[in-house]
Symmetry: C2
Subunit: 380 residues, 2 copies
Amino acid sequence: MSESATISDGMISVEREGDLCVLNWTDGRKEGFHSLWLRDNCQCADCLHPQTRERLFDLMTLDPNSDLIDHLETQNGSLFVTWSDGHQSQFSERWLHEHAYGEDARQARREKPTLWTSEVKNSLPEINYEKVMSGDEGLLSFLDMLCDYGFALIRQTPTRDLEVTRVASRISFLRETNFGREFDVISKPNPNNVAYTALELQSHSDLPNWEVPPGTQFLHCLEFDAEGGESTLVDGFAAARQLQSMSPEDFDLLCQLRIPFRFHDSDWDIRRSATTLALDSFEELEEIRFHSALTAPLDIPSDQVLPFYRAYRALTEIIRKPENILKLKLRPGDLLVFNNRRALHGRAAFDPNTGPRHLQGCYVDNDDVMSKRRVLRRRL
Amino acid sequence: MSESATISDGMISVEREGDLCVLNWTDGRKEGFHSLWLRDNCQCADCLHPQTRERLFDLMTLDPNSDLIDHLETQNGSLFVTWSDGHQSQFSERWLHEHAYGEDARQARREKPTLWTSEVKNSLPEINYEKVMSGDEGLLSFLDMLCDYGFALIRQTPTRDLEVTRVASRISFLRETNFGREFDVISKPNPNNVAYTALELQSHSDLPNWEVPPGTQFLHCLEFDAEGGESTLVDGFAAARQLQSMSPEDFDLLCQLRIPFRFHDSDWDIRRSATTLALDSFEELEEIRFHSALTAPLDIPSDQVLPFYRAYRALTEIIRKPENILKLKLRPGDLLVFNNRRALHGRAAFDPNTGPRHLQGCYVDNDDVMSKRRVLRRRL
């Protein structure tokens, strides 16, 4: 779970091997850094703006064919480099450790989420409102759960109008969309979205028709006396991995083929083509876009149409398996928070004549969520 | 430039060829639609919500192995299908034409931007403030220029505080970032960003460290009496194509290799890895991320480090060629608007002691820009 490992050993010497400066550590490990990489990342005030921490060094000032290094040495836990043009750089042991890019070092920095099925019900990631609101530590615990599981429940949230905004604003500003900055999920006449009816909503991700669908969704239960209307959550990453093991070619297709999504009403016509699944450079899942309601007529090469439908059916079957679905009947005061790029959400149909069901929601983007988590970790 | 071609010919008959329903048009063209695709896109009120235009039909209700179609015919410019379960669908000639997905039809719907070099100076895409603000037609002309060239100039914009917001709000709500909803580009003490100094800024894209960097940037010149400080723009897509023809392997590497970007100050730590160039499914350029100041120490496989630096240098050389750089000295009242995912911007250094230079800026995301353009086209 940690993004920056703590340093447990020291750097003892450095030697050149071709383009690389190879550091030897007390535990026997070697880490290679390219000379050009080191020059590009000089930490001095002329190369890195002291206030903004932005790079000032201009790579184009170097002769790409010259030997860059004049002298190298390690001393007092730092690497000192004298460049052939006389410029000098110093890199601390800690900084080098945190920025090493050998395969092992890169792997060690990866975050690996905890995938789940309906059994997560027995150990829900949940936390009390007071903890989240009163200090950095509670907020960080909440963010850790959210990042690990893709969702978390905040309990005993005061059922005040727009309290959801106050909680979300602990992290960052809100992500505005065509549905506004905040939205009320109630049964409405003349809805412009199926969410605003009393119909069942199969598990889906919100707004896949945006280039970046909203990251983290906050859904605060203000009133709930209606029959039915249980909330559902499915770990989209777990579902995707199940598909991968059952049918790798379907998984691959859904990672590669962009399909069109669209929302349109009288004021908006927002369209985006994107893959159903997306992987990062470590082949770790980073996104699922899954919402039949907003999937536009497929505008893909004709020979991909039937393979897509086959793969999509296979994924849908997995997503609808009861053992993959976490069912939650939200109570007033529950604030369900989930990563809309990972956790698919839905609800059972409800009967609006049996009582009110009123959720209030908003979004904060995941860049902001992860930024806040990093800043809190730095502070705590 | 058009997203939906007008229909110039009619549909005369339909026949089945395996999984496909093949339509014959009066001009001799044939368009194949898969039966399953047609069923999935039934336009009736049970399958497509009449208000929300969202799909209600559930693909999982079909038996994937059955023959779906009972009967097919064309009549009065529509295709009528009776499905084997008795359900009936009707598709208009126009709708089928707009949604055909044969290779030719897909190609015909592509938008092809006009690439440019510094010579665009002789025919700048520019428009008067009054036109943009007073009617849909002027706004659409402005959006057409912006989408085609990746930038446009609005002249004679009143030099009022936050007028930039009023213009941007003609399109949509603003995209907020860690720099706020609006920002003032002036020389500041203790800047948290190089833009807020008087230093030269090489051509770059803003905020590549966000999952989605801001789409369209609005920069309104309120005051400008300083010496120097000319604005520069480079067509990043044109530069990328120049690289592709000179050195295809460098181009490919920049399309494939994700590199890390980061902004951090006391309140934020926003990181994202992304490719320098990105292509859509037609291999059309859709993005360039280029900002040395926010490029974090490369955290990529070691054997990619030197190839990346080589490719990056080659691209940088092209971007800095004078013949690729449009230079503009903004005057009070000029509002420069550009697609931050395509047009790289910069400025010459200026001397803040010779007079003020004050720009005010904000962002609107490209999803919103394109949505507004579609809605205006529908109306006009």
